[in-house]
């Protein structure tokens, strides 16, 4: 009955070492990923038709931050500030949003295969985007080309939100959301949206089909400060809510009843996580198209490295996702320069083999 004596406050040596090692690994992971993000950001800003050395990029950014007016002029500054920086920031934001959303969905659905697509955002957004591209021209003649591309992000965002809301309502009975129902209904709704998107592709002409195909593979190409300003306020709440959600998700790992016994407001966590993911993924998809694989591969890599504790997993996934997307964008722009590859191709081509290599490297079976 050592527990009764609450004056005891020394850890057994083995446990102290364990706790210390956990903290070391966590610190190391945060350091490595943060540094990786910084380096890739500088490289990504510097690379392109006009090559700028990372040191020069750092100098420009620093001068900008410090408000040094002498450096506000010049070609490099214009390229960095108006073209490259918004693109890289969009990449960081979208990558973080997708990876954190993936980790949240896996925790919430207690399913290692869950990804942001499960809450219906991608399906709804994809259908809405297809409808905008294919039907947009038919209803709005005269302004061809222009209009569909102006309302495409908005349409995708609304489509994503509406399908998530529909799923949430289907899965909620008497104030309780069944994640199992949501999972299954999500599969059904996804299939339905996929069929309708297919139908739209079937009736589209060649140019529309090409637009649709490229949009569905994702790109950071259209980045601008305006776009960034539009999506940042929608994505950032997800990142700010991470500490609150992390505690709740850790408790949920034992099951909903146990989480409730531990004092976790289960229904509020579920509703908040689903809402924030729908908003963040909807905004990401609207800004950069469909970029697969980040939401599933990044959280799993982080789990393999530091374990499944969400208090670490969520912030590290944010850093890892940001890093993967900016890195993939560098490759996408480099490999077929001066053209660029769709981003979704690169994230899958980098992420999948790396993930497989990690799986094969493990001696025993994987306990997801």
């Amino acid at each position: 009955m050592t527990v009764a004596a609450s004056s005891v406050s020394r850890l057994p040596a083995g446990l102290a070492a364990l706790v210390a090692r956990r903290r070391q690994v966590a610190g190391l992971a945060v350091g490595v990923l943060a540094l990786g993000c910084l380096v890739l950001t500088l490289v990504a800003i510097g690379q392109g038709a006009i090559t700028i050395a990372p040191a020069r990029v750092a100098e420009i950014l620093w001068a900008r931050l410090a408000g040094n007016a002498a450096l506000f002029e010049g070609r490099d500054v214009l390229v960095v500030m108006n073209i490259r920086l918004p693109r890289v920031l969009l990449g960081l934001l979208v990558g973080a949003a997708l990876a954190v959303s993936g980790a949240l969905m896996q925790g919430l659905f207690r399913n290692p295969l869950a990804d942001p697509g499960l809450v219906g955002v991608s399906a709804g957004a994809g259908l809405a985007a297809a409808a905008t591209i294919v039907l947009g021209d038919r209803f709005v003649t005269g302004t061809q080309m222009k209009l569909p591309f102006a309302i495409l992000p908005l349409g995708a965002f609304c489509g994503g939100l509406i399908s998530t809301l529909a799923l949430y309502l289907i899965a909620t009975r008497r104030g309780r959301t069944s994640v199992a129902t949501m999972l299954l209904a999500g599969v059904a709704l996804g299939a339905l949206a996929g069929a309708m998107t297919g139908l739209l592709a079937f009736i589209s002409d060649d140019r529309q089909l090409r637009d649709l195909t490229f949009w569905s593979m994702g790109s950071l190409g259209g980045a601008s400060w305006t776009k960034l300003a539009a999506i940042a306020p929608i994505v950032i709440p997800l990142l700010l809510a991470m500490p609150f959600l992390a505690r709740g998700l850790n408790g949920l790992m034992l099951g909903e009843a146990e989480a409730y016994h531990l004092g976790i407001p289960v229904q509020r966590i579920k509703a908040l996580a689903i809402l924030l993911v729908a908003l963040a993924v909807g905004a990401s998809v609207a800004a950069a198209g469909l970029i697969g694989f980040v939401g599933i591969v990044v959280p799993h890599l982080i789990r393999l490295a530091v374990g499944p504790d969400h208090r670490l997993l969520l912030p590290l996934s944010a850093l890892g996702g940001a890093m993967l997307l900016v890195g993939a964008d560098i490759v996408a722009r480099l490999i077929v320069a001066p053209a660029e590859l769709p981003l979704g191709i690169v994230t899958a081509a980098i992420g999948a083999p790396f993930f497989l290599w990690l799986l094969l490297r493990r001696a025993g079976p994987l306990d997801v």
């Binding site: 009955m1 050592t2 527990v3 009764a4 609450s6 005891v8 406050s9 020394r10 850890l11 057994p12 083995g14 446990l15 102290a16 364990l18 706790v19 896996q106 925790g107 207690r110 399913n111 290692p112 505690r247 850790n250 408790g251 790992m253 034992l254 099951g255 009843a257 146990e258 409730y260 016994h261 531990l262 004092g263 976790i264 407001p265 289960v266 789990r303 374990g307 499944p308 504790d309 306990d367 997801v368």
Partner: protein, 277 residues
């Protein structure tokens, strides 16, 4: 049949009923848990023991009657405050991701022990792991443990929650649903000893058990359920008799009395010796 209402009962269940899908799982259950007392709930499979426990912890909302903790309606208490007032160890806890034993045990302390300094929280987790006899498993992934070891880790987590909650709520309750189902005899006794030690500090303890001999040995207050209703409760020696055994558990065995405290005990050997009965 019914015990006089304890003056300072901590958890009071009054006329609890629960019906789902047209089936009544619990009907008109009235039960008080007193601080410092160990109440043990027995009954055959499907008698409604776990459901009654779920109603009393707030996991499931009653269709009839009400539950109060420390004079306050259960439904009016927010989850975080309830978590300080009572800890619950459920029957099965399965994990999806490879959390370590240390991380699982920490869950009990992480949430409600946030006011404690970090070193104190870590130490508390260590104490609870040691108390449940799983300290040397701390680094192992929870999923690789045997069923009994997992159960002891869950007990460590529950202990941590009670300890952490004590700084916030002075009057606490502990609910254990078949906590020894997968344990060997040595650990069964150790866990029940510990539950009684916690009760001795003023916690109201409710345990669902199947082993009648252990139930009468460890209970201050024995509650017998059958087909959703509480059919007897009181001091173990007065509550259990041959007629009740026949009626509730459908076994034709007779109780004997152990020498010193005169507690009843049961030998299933009689059943083998006299199979026709």
């Amino acid at each position: 049949m019914s015990e006089p209402l304890t003056q300072n009962a901590l958890v009071c269940a009054q006329g609890l009923g629960f019906t789902t899908g047209g089936k009544t799982l619990v009907r008109d259950a009235t039960l008080d848990l007193a601080p410092g007392s160990t109440t043990i709930l027995i009954g055959p499979n499907g008698a409604g023991k776990s459901t009654l426990l779920k109603l009393m912890t707030g996991e499931v909302r009653a269709s009839a009657g009400h539950v109060a903790i420390d004079g306050e309606a259960l439904t009016a208490i927010p989850a975080w405050r309830l978590a300080c007032q009572r800890a619950v160890m459920a029957q099965h806890a399965r994990l999806v991701f490879p959390f370590s034993v240390y991380e699982v045990a920490s869950l009990g302390v992480d949430g409600i022990g946030r006011a404690m300094p970090r070193t104190r929280r870590d130490a508390l987790v260590g104490e609870c792991l040691a108390a449940a006899g799983v300290l040397d498993l701390a680094a192992r992934p929870y999923q690789t443990l045997s069923g009994g070891e997992q159960q002891r880790v869950q007990f460590a987590r529950t202990l941590g929650q009670i300890e952490a909650g004590r700084s916030i709520a002075e009057r606490q309750a502990l609910f254990l649903d078949e906590p020894i189902a997968s344990l060997d005899l040595c650990h069964q006794l150790a866990l029940l000893d510990m539950a009684r030690a916690i009760a001795a500090r003023g916690v109201a303890v409710l345990i669902v058990l199947h082993d009648l001999n252990l139930a009468v040995t460890y209970a201050d207050h024995l509650v017998v359920m059958d087909r959703g209703a509480i059919i007897a409760q009181g001091a173990p020696a007065q509550t259990l008799d041959d007629a009740l055994l026949r009626q509730v558990f459908r076994v034709d065995l007779s109780l004997s009395r152990a020498p010193a405290p005169g507690l009843p005990f049961l030998l299933p050997q009689q059943h083998r010796a006299n199979p026709a009965a």
